[in-house]
């Protein structure tokens, strides 16, 4: 049983008049439910229930006065476990302290322990996200961070392997080294334009030495357009027109590109040319070629079509201004004298330095070569 006393409704109010009961004996009320309205000197006030429970007694009827702190109503003790609640020391003059039957176990001293599960992978969240995005298992990443952490770069290495054991890294030496330098220089300096066409060489006899025929065709071309047989110095904008023709012959070797030079080819017989070509080939193979045999080309022939390749943007190497590339000779269907026929076709690629040579000059040079190869020239060479 607990008695609810009329609380102090305001400073200095000694009593209040019951205006209206909202509840009656036997009612079940909830906490905060209005119980009664009372009239004080100041106002009409609703008094909420301090607890939930069943009401067993009301003190006073409407119109009667109740003193502050005097009993107002009484709750059943059914749900009130502590019958002495009213008189018991609540342990505080302010507020209410929660009490319970909770018994805490005696405390043991738990020492901090490190878990065996602890991951020793150190990685920032952003890197973790990056790794997840690329399906990289962090356990497989070798950390290189200053704190032993995995960095973005460490993860990137696994995405694009560039250091796999199979890859061999080596510095370029010898001919390859110079090829790298020379080609880069040529690429930077020369305005390399390539003109392509084909020659119908069906009329050439079967055992014709193609290389020698090409050399003779080049001589014809140079005769038609001597401006292709020139050295050009881009720094001082001067060109030297050569009277003699020294022809570089591009030769592919395992060590790299060699370009030995056939000197003074203008008046040499096909047989002499072949002899000289063979000598140079051999000395290149044997690595005995003399320095002088590699210098002084005024024009170059690259017979690249031995295995495959029709046309190529062959590269002019300064100070020369022209180079001819010959692709793979093959049989093709062509229109010949008004009829479809199978012809032997030689693809030609002429590169020239457009700083020095005009398109027209190059085109006339190529036309002269083709006429020679096709047996249409006047046999000047």
């Amino acid at each position: 049983m607990s008695i609810f006393h009329l609380p102090d409704l305001g400073e200095g109010l000694a009593e209040a008049e019951i205006h209206e009961w909202y509840v009656k004996v036997g009612d079940e009320v909830k906490v905060d439910q209005p119980l009664v309205s009372v009239e004080t000197a100041k106002a009409l006030v609703d008094i909420p229930s301090p607890e939930s429970g069943r009401i067993v007694k009301l003190y006073g009827q409407p119109g009667e006065f109740i003193n502050t702190h005097a009993p107002l109503l009484e709750f059943s003790s059914d749900n009130n476990t502590n019958k002495n609640n009213v008189n018991k020391d609540k342990g505080s003059v302010v507020g209410q302290l929660e009490e319970s039957d909770t018994i805490l176990k005696a405390e043991e001293n738990i020492e901090p322990i490190q878990s065996a599960k602890t991951s020793n992978i150190k990685v920032m969240p952003a890197v973790r996200v990056f790794a997840n995005k690329h399906n990289i298992n962090l356990a497989t990443v070798k950390p290189t961070g200053t704190q032993g952490q995995i960095t973005i770069e460490d993860v990137e290495k696994l995405i694009k392997p560039d250091n796999t054991p199979d890859n061999k890294e080596e510095t370029l030496h010898g001919v390859r080294h110079f090829m790298a330098i020379e080609m880069a220089r040529a690429h930077q300096e020369v305005v390399n334009v390539t003109l392509v066409d084909e020659a119908d060489i069906t009329s050439l006899p079967d055992k014709t030495d193609i290389t020698v025929s090409l050399i003779q065709a080049i001589i014809t071309g140079i005769k038609a357009e001597p401006v292709l047989n020139v050295w050009y110095d881009g720094k001082i904008k001067k060109r030297i027109l050569h009277n003699a023709i020294h022809l570089g012959l591009a030769m592919d070797t395992a060590e790299g590109l060699f370009v030995p030079v056939l000197k003074n080819i203008l008046n040499q017989s096909p047989k002499d040319l072949r002899t000289e070509i063979n000598r140079l080939k051999k000395s290149v193979q044997l690595r005995t070629i003399a320095k002088e045999d590699l210098q002084g080309a005024t024009f170059t022939l690259s017979n690249f079509g031995v295995f495959a390749g029709r046309y190529a943007t062959v590269m002019v190497v300064p100070p020369a201004v022209g180079i001819l590339g010959c692709g793979r000779i093959r049989e093709c269907v062509r229109v010949h004298e008004g009829k479809i026929a199978i012809r032997r076709i030689m693809p030609l690629s002429l590169s020239f330095d457009h700083r020095v040579v005009t398109g027209g000059e190059a085109s006339r040079f190529l036309a002269a070569m083709m006429a020679h190869l096709e047996g249409r020239d006047d046999g000047l060479s």
């Binding site: 020391d89 342990g91 505080s92 003059v93 302010v94 507020g95 209410q96 302290l97 929660e98 009490e99 319970s100 909770t102 018994i103 805490l104 176990k105 005696a106 405390e107 738990i110 020492e111 901090p112 322990i113 490190q114 878990s115 599960k117 602890t118 991951s119 992978i121 150190k122 990685v123 920032m124 969240p125 973790r128 704190q147 952490q149």
Partner: protein, 326 residues
């Protein structure tokens, strides 16, 4: 041995140390005849007399100043403030004198005193009886701030606080004063200050709390256990100086951490702990460090008090949230 409440454990510790050390003096408002606003000192006046259990006027600044003077002259005063909200008039004495007397006198004098105060809400008291402003004291160099959360820890930590040669702010969670009981042997054994207590070992997540919020933290862990989630619970106990090592070791193990305190969010001790862990346990974190705190408001009156306090369900939700991370 009978089980006793937290407030009874406080009383037991005071009685033990007064018996053991005649230099221990109690002072405060209504601590003598009335036995204290929460009855923490009940019976001590009768036992030790008016010389050693002194009722003071309602003047907190004076209580603090008196205690500092006594301490500097070799006594070991334990002063009670009725509520944490009432300590503010004494802040000048505490910050400007108690906290720095050892430094000011180059070690010649010290302040071996304890300032006790109940703190926290949840007891339906008026608003300035409800706050948790422990961060104010934790911020002041020269002060230890100790908060027990069980009868055993209240007993052991208070004994150590009284024996400590420097000032200790001893904050008692009023909500837990009579909430639970525990066997507390009256053996005079102090518990170490400056050390966090692992209340439960676990693997998945670390719950860090102190004071009354330990209650919800423990019950949340109980429920999580049923879901197969292994929770480590740490009662920081001494929030200044902080036992970082225990916290770090735990985070390195679990990688997840939730800090629960009832104090307002901004500038709370949870911020400091979160920052320390972010700096030092960075590579071990599997999820953001979560803080569950009171709001940046004055603690509301009785009806909204429970809304203000972090709830068991919030702790459970936060645990689920951090478990969803890597």
């Amino acid at each position: 041995m009978a089980e006793i409440t937290l407030v009874e454990a406080i009383n037991q510790a005071l009685a033990y140390e007064m018996q053991a050390d005649p230099d221990v003096i109690l002072l405060g408002e209504d601590i003598g005849k009335d036995g204290g606003v929460f009855r923490a000192t009940v019976g001590l006046l009768e036992k030790f007399g008016e010389e050693r259990v002194r009722d003071t006027p309602l003047a907190e600044s004076m209580i603090a100043g008196l205690a500092i003077g006594m301490a500097m002259q070799g006594l070991k005063p334990v002063a009670e403030f009725q509520f944490m909200g009432f300590t503010y008039p004494a802040l000048d004495q505490i910050i400007n004198h108690a906290a720095r007397m050892r430094n000011r006198t180059r070690g010649r004098l010290s302040c071996p005193l304890v300032f006790r105060a109940p703190f926290g809400c949840g007891i339906h008291a008026p608003e300035h009886h409800s706050e948790s402003t422990e961060a104010i004291y934790a911020h002041i160099p020269g002060l230890r701030v100790v908060i027990p959360s069980s009868p055993q820890r209240a007993y052991g930590l208070l004994l150590s606080a009284i024996r400590d040669p420097d000032p200790v702010i001893f904050l008692e969670p009023a909500r837990l004063y009579r909430w639970a009981k525990q066997e507390v042997p009256d053996d005079g054994k102090g518990l170490p200050l400056d050390r966090a207590f692992i209340l439960q070992s676990g693997e998945d997540v670390t719950l860090i709390s102190w004071g009354a919020m330990i209650k919800e933290t423990l019950s949340a862990a109980q429920k999580l256990k049923k879901d197969g989630i292994s929770v480590e619970i740490i009662d920081v106990a001494t929030i200044k100086p902080l036992d970082k090592q225990t916290l770090l070791t735990s985070i390195e193990k679990t990688g997840r951490c939730i800090i629960i305190h009832e104090a307002a969010r901004t500038g709370g001790v949870g911020e400091h702990i979160s920052a320390e862990l972010a700096e030092q346990a960075l590579f071990f974190l599997k999820a953001p460090i979560i803080r569950l705190t009171g709001y940046d408001t004055i603690v509301p009156y009785a009806k909204l008090e429970n809304y203000y306090l972090p709830k068991e369900q919030q702790i459970i939700d936060a645990v689920q949230r951090v478990l969803e991370f890597a």
